[in-house]
């Protein structure tokens, strides 16, 4: 049995590292950062978010502030979504594409509205591992003579507070009326009487906010939330939570070789937009149909289908493993046991013909084939309170 050992590579650390160490968190390298994987244990942290509230240090994520008179106009060619419909205080989940329609990164575009000089202001939150590449991509495609682009990643702390009790807990720390912020809405205000930005977004499938504050306020905010009983959660629980919610993880479920149409992200493509990078390739895919689709799999037994495992189809109508074709037809991109559902779930790319709900498939796990079934995504959907 091999147990991960720490690498000697220098890693970036968030301003909250001391908080994590005080809680005896286990850390690991992630996207070039030393990040907490777990505090109490993945299952306990996962359940806290589903049933009460949990918090995540996500300060590693790339945070870019942009301002300019024609900012939205300049960003439009970089994303397949229509940013012109964004009203101040609204946000959109979208992707950067390459010319072949492959996903360079997934990100959220938060539109703040116009500054008093009339400039449009936007915050982009991108993945940690792709942040420097995104910055380069932006610099290549926008006119920096008319726009400002500031990477505030090191100076800001970003904490996600998620779960059914998250908003009520946060409300005790701010005068901002959080309930008035709609899903994917965001607002600037104060927390603990210091400047803060609140975004009603997340990566867990639960309601909650992501709060950005100055790095100097980070530890106090973290400690305050901790004292209020919010469960600290690591990347382990973040992964099982987002998987249950069937949210893609960049670098695993989506990357520069997968298109939004294959990944089930066609809803974010605005076909009315006359042009954006990757549009031609996506149009061709749309006309011809994509050959593979990202699907949700549910395993019958306890064996977990993990990243990279081959997915196979039956070579005949028989449903015994001996009839499973020797060749794989697809691949698992993410998999875990679902702490909420109690059985293993996975995301996998499979041929479009085998992507229908109810389709029986097999996953090869360490040389043996185990039965799986295509199921609806998300695996878990929170019950919304009216």
């Amino acid at each position: 049995m091999a147990v991960e050992s720490h690498l000697a590579t220098p890693l970036q650390t968030t301003p909250l590292l001391a908080c994590h160490q005080a809680l005896k968190a286990r850390t690991m390298p992630f996207g070039g950062w030393e990040m907490p994987v777990q505090y109490q244990g993945i299952t306990a942290e996962h359940q806290a978010v589903r049933e009460r509230s949990g918090m995540f240090d996500i300060s590693h994520m790339g945070k870019f502030l942009l301002e300019g008179m024609d900012l939205i106009g300049q960003l439009q060619p970089l994303v397949p979504s229509d940013l012109s419909v964004l009203k101040p205080g609204q946000a959109k989940y979208t992707v950067f594409l390459n010319e072949s329609g492959g996903i360079l990164d997934d990100l959220i575009v938060y539109y703040h509205g116009q500054t008093n000089t009339g400039a449009q202001a936007i915050t982009l939150i991108v993945n940690a591992a792709t942040a420097s590449q995104d910055l380069e991509w932006l610099r290549q495609h926008i006119n920096l003579d008319t726009l400002t682009l500031e990477d505030v990643t090191p100076e800001r702390v970003l904490i996600a507070v998620q779960g059914p009790e998250a908003i009520a807990l946060l409300q005790t720390l701010t005068v901002v009326d959080l309930k008035q912020v709609s899903r994917y809405g965001h607002i600037t205000g104060t927390i603990l009487d210091k400047p803060a930005w609140f975004a009603r977004t997340g990566y867990t499938g639960e309601d909650g906010f992501e709060i950005m504050v100055d790095a100097t306020l980070g530890s106090l905010l973290w400690e305050t939330l901790l004292a209020k009983g919010v469960q600290p959660c690591g990347l382990g629980a973040r992964d099982t939570l987002r998987l249950e919610a069937a949210m893609a993880l960049y670098g695993q479920d989506i990357d520069s070789t997968t298109s939004p149409l294959e990944a089930g992200l066609q809803w974010l493509v605005s076909w009315e937009k006359p042009d954006f990078i990757g549009r031609k390739a996506l149009m061709t895919q749309k006309k011809q149909g994509v050959s593979r689709q990202l699907v949700g799999l549910q395993m019958d037994g306890r064996h977990i289908a993990r990243h990279g495992y081959p997915v196979k189809a039956l070579s005949t109508l028989s449903e015994t493993p001996s009839e499973v074709s020797a060749n794989s037809t697809g691949e698992v991109t993410s998999g875990s046991i679902s702490p909420t559902l109690g059985y293993p779930i996975a995301l996998a790319y499979v041929p479009t013909a085998l992507s229908q709900i109810g389709q029986h498939l097999w996953v090869e796990i360490r040389g043996k084939d185990y039965p799986a079934q295509v199921v609806k995504r998300p695996f878990y959907r929170r019950t919304r309170t009216p």
Partner: protein, 129 residues
């Protein structure tokens, strides 16, 4: 964090332990490794009558986070499998050197454990991880 490593056991650097009593070897996983793995989902073990081979994979352990191969410190025939573990993997973490054993293996008299680590040697190794 410090864990207990009983003196009467021998350990592999891959974190399995063996307790040799006459011709019966009891195999299990060290407390350190179980802690590193986190929430255990299940353990895949061979069946009674199967042969395990020193240095080779005899099963694997799956946690929420990862799956890891289990290596056998001995060669021999499996005489007993801790089947209740399948339904109750928490037992592994609660009592890794007692109720959390995995297999009992009948080994040859000539068995040598020279390549395994003593509790002290093993402790030194994991302290470095």
């Amino acid at each position: 964090m410090s864990f207990e490593y009983p003196e009467d056991l021998r350990y592999l650097d891959s974190h399995e332990y063996v307790r040799l009593e006459g011709e019966i070897a009891t195999l299990g996983i060290s407390a350190f490794a179980l802690d590193q793995l986190g929430d255990i989902v299940f353990v895949d073990l061979p069946s009674e009558g199967d042969v395990v081979t020193q240095g080779e994979v005899f099963g694997n352990i799956e946690s929420v986070k990862a799956v890891e191969d289990l290596y056998s410190p001995v060669t021999g025939t499996v005489v007993e499998v801790n089947t209740p573990l399948a339904d109750n993997p928490e037992q592994l973490v609660e009592d890794p050197y007692g109720e959390g054993w995995l297999l009992k293996v009948r080994v040859a008299e000539s068995l040598s454990l020279d390549d395994t680590l003593s509790a002290t040697e093993y402790q030194l190794q994991v302290d470095g991880e």
